[in-house]
Symmetry: C2
Subunit: 680 residues, 2 copies
């Protein structure tokens, strides 16, 4: 994908290093103890899936229309322009290639986007699906063809300046006027201005607007309305619609996240999505049958975010670990050549636990996706029984995985030293594009507290003698086993080399921390504060309990995955990774394990020692383990993470294409520096 | 500083909220229990200093030449252009105003820059100072006037593509040719290309180049050379000089960090800086008297970085805490109005420990600066005795403070929810501008290991019976008090409400972790590995020991500062902050304190409980404590951090100025979307 500049390619030829594979990275691959290709199949879910994925990826990679300048060299307006262009091309190409399966579309777009975004993202991810699920028959007939033919370019306008995660607080109003049979939409306060929706600023001509429905003098809460924003002919904003871009952000440069201020905008009655709730012509409100229906979508999106956490971390590890295998620096033994930086224990300690985490989250994402599809089947048959648990789990896991993955990306970036700070490493882009997941689709702390609410409720049920099932069934054991233990009572049951034993330890930690949080609430209540204040005054403990619960689930799922793997070499290396993941979590949270009496001080020293051994044990397989993620160079778009390991010559080449190098002398010299010199 | 667009200012007037102070934030200020102004004086170092700082700041703020568009709205080339323009203006203005004291220049530039950078930064910070200290008399006479008049615009070219922190590995060569009495400079490999120096790409016409000196067939290591890069008349690069911008980065958009490839560039013999080392006309090398001289500069720069860690965190806390006082969200008690988000315990737990850290680092920065100046006096009198300790301490503290501050800035940003992700919050800029401190001036892990080397050396000296003095004197106690203790032996000496007792506890933790690291090395040596491998195989423990040492120093210095404060109200609130800082550190590292037997499990529960009380206790003073940092709105440049708390109306106004809003319909609609619609 790199367009060689004349100067650099000749430089590369002169030094005749251009086409050769870096010998360091070749040696790493030769030393691997397992079959990389087979592991890739496991990650993809089967050999056929790997094959099809690669076919689709090569469609994009080999397509001359998609060879373009690095987005980092463009201004924001140019980047937006490029995103719209590619989105338009992509829609036509997907039709040409006959790709229509959602997984395959996702795969196609993943390459195409690199770390960047499409202009019509929310049209496909939110606007169309909402039409599919919330239109009644007549509405479906009208709107779906308009949306599918992109005559109606849509987005989903929920978040306002004043309210995000707390949906009930949204202030936009839709007031029914029976005289004209219209809804009148308004942004009554400055905080009610819609803010953040992707594609709202410049791209969309329609939006599904979430607004408080008022009819017959009564407010019936949030409902969804189709609001035309711009003329379908001229794209000029319609009267009463104040719409625009919210300005530059940390990342997402090419996306026109927008604002929308509605000033007495009138829409026909049947622009309210009426599959469930209705407003009749006279203004009578008919309420929907169940409120739980929207849970499903949230669960699905959160499971996708967990999957993205795995992917973002996998990409970051690929870059940092490959670079660490070709970067030589300083010395371990005097007089010897500079070692690969991956030989430093501190570097291994930064990167290998993150590598293990990337694998863990990938497996958790797969699990959540399976459960979602199974439960969706149940829901369609009217069985909502598993939904609360899954909803609670998805909230916590979304928060747990996005927090750790975000931090992990930055650790990977800094593990690449100064060059990690260059946009050519791709790591800044991975970070700024991923880190908003900590905030959107439910702010992480709020998510953790949602999971905690479920845990405390379950704990109380168990305490009251109810038998819990599912993932929280461990709380059944509370009464018997969770007696306060002195740390000096050394448990001999934990075997730090046995993953099953560690899963059990994580489980008991979660149980104890849930109990601790419940007791904190109890203690507050004894001070005669209200339930609500007692909850808020225990929030630190509640988040800690949720965190421990999620950590347990991740370790458990990682261990469970090992049971599915037949290949000995792969089973062995993944077992090492899983053990590393579990033990590093124990070391990081050693206070919890000591405080709850689950581990003794000597055991903790053993954990530290064992961790060092595991790092050394993983060292020869590190590059192979990131290779197995199978991100091609075009998807990584990182000079440091190149498969061939030839980073320096390509960094030089990349730099020479920087816009500031278009002229030898920048105009600012003539404008400011020369006149300044004359004055001094 | 905000240029109001017509539409928004009328919107603001209509809602008549424009000029009023947000009542929430006013109430916060009324509830403070101490005198903010007096605390500002303490932070500045005296009432006179506060006065003078404000005078200087107002010179910039009131200067119409410095009212300009938000840099976030400009392309990179425009930003570079703006930076050069402002740098040029500033130089003239500083002369006009007669500001020449380095502290006052720093202050002037701090406002001017906001979070951004000057184009000639390295000219003043590295080029000129190096000329001052390393030129011999003749060189001084020639170069200093050229540099002071900016005829010679200089930078400092040390880092190469292949080597950063490990200076000995630098590959650029300067080979003396006695025939012409010139040095011939070369970049012999691709990794030897100079990479990263600020101002190197487009601005500078000279650089001080660090290169391996070869003469009479022998290499004498790194020396500094003045290398002309561009014509002083035309600014065109000179023959053999391949120079340019290294391309876009995570931040520092307006800086032209550069590359420099030298191809047989010849410079006269006396372009080598010869105050200490020399090469005579015939090529004879004369070595410098002492190698320790450069330590001083490193210590100074690292003390400045610690100070910047305090400032970056102080700014971030100012923004996040002010915003948390005006942002209302969700509910604690049903039916009541939405609370300020600062009322949530989780929000307090995110922000208040960081506020305490900002104060801690500010005091540590002040201390290091004082020590530096004291020791510089000693050095000038030939006394180097304290230098190794200060050098080691400055390395560790630089790493310790920059890591935690970087993480803290992101915590502040995310504590502002979605709006923290907008560039209008200023938090993304603070982060990307600060986070490179983790890498430059010595990569943090390497710095931690440098401090560890000093600690282990000191520990061994103490073990051998030498009496240590200074900050590591606590290692003297090793033999007596650091016997392994069972965790069940509950120490009763620690009083968690007494700061002095906590300082002692931190000290013992450091002592134990240094001992643990030393024992790990010992254990490795018993396996018959070499000293160097034993060191590398214990690196995790060594970093942990350094971290504990630095943490001890910070807690100790914070406690010591309290002793200087007479005002009761301020003493009280700072004591609460210091206690919060110390206890939160214990909670975060509870495993260490339990493992070393310094705290018992019940004590740890008390710590958790006490922490919650301290959060509640600080709540009424939070806004006042950030006000005391006294960053004016122009310096913060943050919509969320405004002193008046009127965030939403200004966010809307800021967004409307986004370049994407220059036209109602973006050209990409006509170029791509309309044609696409026609095809479907």
């Amino acid at each position: 994908m790199f367009l060689l500049s004349q100067a650099t390619s000749s430089f590369a030829r002169e030094n005749s290093i251009y086409f050769a594979m870096n010998p360091d990275i070749t040696r790493e691959r030769e030393n691997a103890t397992f079959n990389v290709e087979k592991l890739t199949h496991i990650l993809d879910g089967g050999i056929e899936k790997t094959k099809r994925r690669r076919e689709i990826e090569s469609l994009v990679i080999s397509d001359p229309d998609f060879q373009s300048e690095d987005l980092n060299f463009l201004s924001r307006s140019e980047r937006y322009d490029a995103a719209v262009k590619k989105s338009a091309q992509m829609i036509l190409k997907l039709r040409e290639h006959g790709i229509s399966d959602p997984e395959e579309i996702y795969c196609y777009k993943s390459v195409f986007r690199g770390h960047h975004h499409e202009a019509l993202g929310l049209h496909f991810v939110m606007f169309l699906p909402t039409l599919y699920t919330q239109c009644n028959k007549e509405q479906f007939k009208k709107w779906v063809p308009l949306a599918e033919s992109l005559k109606a370019l849509g987005t989903y306008a929920q978040t306002e300046m004043g309210h995000g995660t707390h949906l009930r607080g949204l202030e936009t109003t839709a007031t029914y006027d029976p005289a004209t049979q219209e809804f009148v939409l308004n942004s009554p306060t400055i905080t009610s201005i819609k803010w953040w929706p992707g594609g709202l600023g410049k791209t969309s001509n329609h939006a599904i607007v979430l607004a408080q429905l008022h009819t017959q003098g009564k407010c019936h809460g949030l409902h969804a309305f189709i609001v035309p924003l711009r003329s379908m002919n001229t794209h000029i904003p319609l009267p009463g619609v104040v719409v625009g871009d919210i300005g530059p952000k940390f990342g997402f440069d090419e996306v026109d996240n927008g604002y929308l201020k509605l000033e007495n905008v009138r829409i026909p009655r049947d622009y309210m999505l009426m599959k469930y709730a209705k407003v009749e012509a006279d203004g009578t409100y008919v309420k929907p049958p169940s409120a739980k229906l929207t849970y499903g979508t949230m669960v699905f999106i959160r499971s996708m975010i967990v999957r993205e956490a795995g992917r973002a971390l996998a990409k970051s590890c690929t870059i940092a670990i490959r670079y660490s295998s070709v970067r030589h620096q300083s010395e371990i033994r005097p007089g010897e050549p500079e070692p690969q930086i991956m030989d430093y224990q501190t570097q291994q300690y930064k990167l290998f636990p993150l590598l293990a985490t990337a694998y863990a989250y990938t497996f958790v994402g797969q699990y959540m996706n399976q459960v979602y599809h199974r439960i969706t089947g149940d829901i369609n048959q009217g069985d909502f029984s598993e939904l609360p648990e899954l909803h609670a789990l998805s909230a916590g896991l979304k928060a747990f995985t996005t927090w750790t993955a975000s931090e992990g990306i930055e650790v990977c970036r800094m593990a690449c030293g100064g060059h990690g700070y260059s946009r050519c490493s791709a790591l800044p882009d991975i970070y700024v594009n991923f880190v908003p997941t900590c905030t959107y689709e439910g702010e992480n702390t709020v998510m953790m507290l949602q999971t905690a609410r479920f845990l405390i409720k379950s704990y109380r049920q168990a305490s009251a003698g109810h038998q819990l099932s599912g993932i929280v069934s461990y709380l059944n054991e509370s009464e018997g086993r969770l007696q306060p233990q002195s740390v000096s009572t050394r448990p001999t049951v934990v075997n730090i080399n046995d993953l099953a034993s560690l899963v059990e330890t994580y489980k008991l930690r979660a149980a104890k921390l849930v109990e601790l949080a419940a007791k904190s609430i109890q203690l507050e209540l004894q001070k005669r504060v209200s339930q609500e204040d007692a909850w808020n005054n225990s929030a630190i403990d509640l988040v800690r309990a949720s965190d421990a619960h999620c950590h347990y689930v991740v370790v458990k799922l990682f261990a469970a995955k090992l049971g599915e793997i037949g290949d000995t070499g792969i089973h062995s290396v993944l077992s090492t990774l899983a053990l590393l993941y579990a033990l590093q979590g124990i070391q990081q949270h050693s206070g919890d394990f000591l405080q709850t009496g689950l581990l003794s001080v000597p055991q903790l020293s053993q954990v530290s020692q064992r961790l060092k051994e595991l790092l050394a044990q993983l060292r020869p397989n590190a590059v192979a383990l990131v290779d197995a993620f199978d991100y091609c160079d075009e998807m990584l778009n990182s000079v440091l993470g190149r498969y061939d390991g030839n980073v320096y010559e390509h960094m030089f080449e990349w730099a020479r294409r920087s816009p500031l190098n278009k002229t030898e002398v920048h105009e600012s010299y003539h404008k400011y520096l020369k006149p300044l010199q004359a004055k001094l």
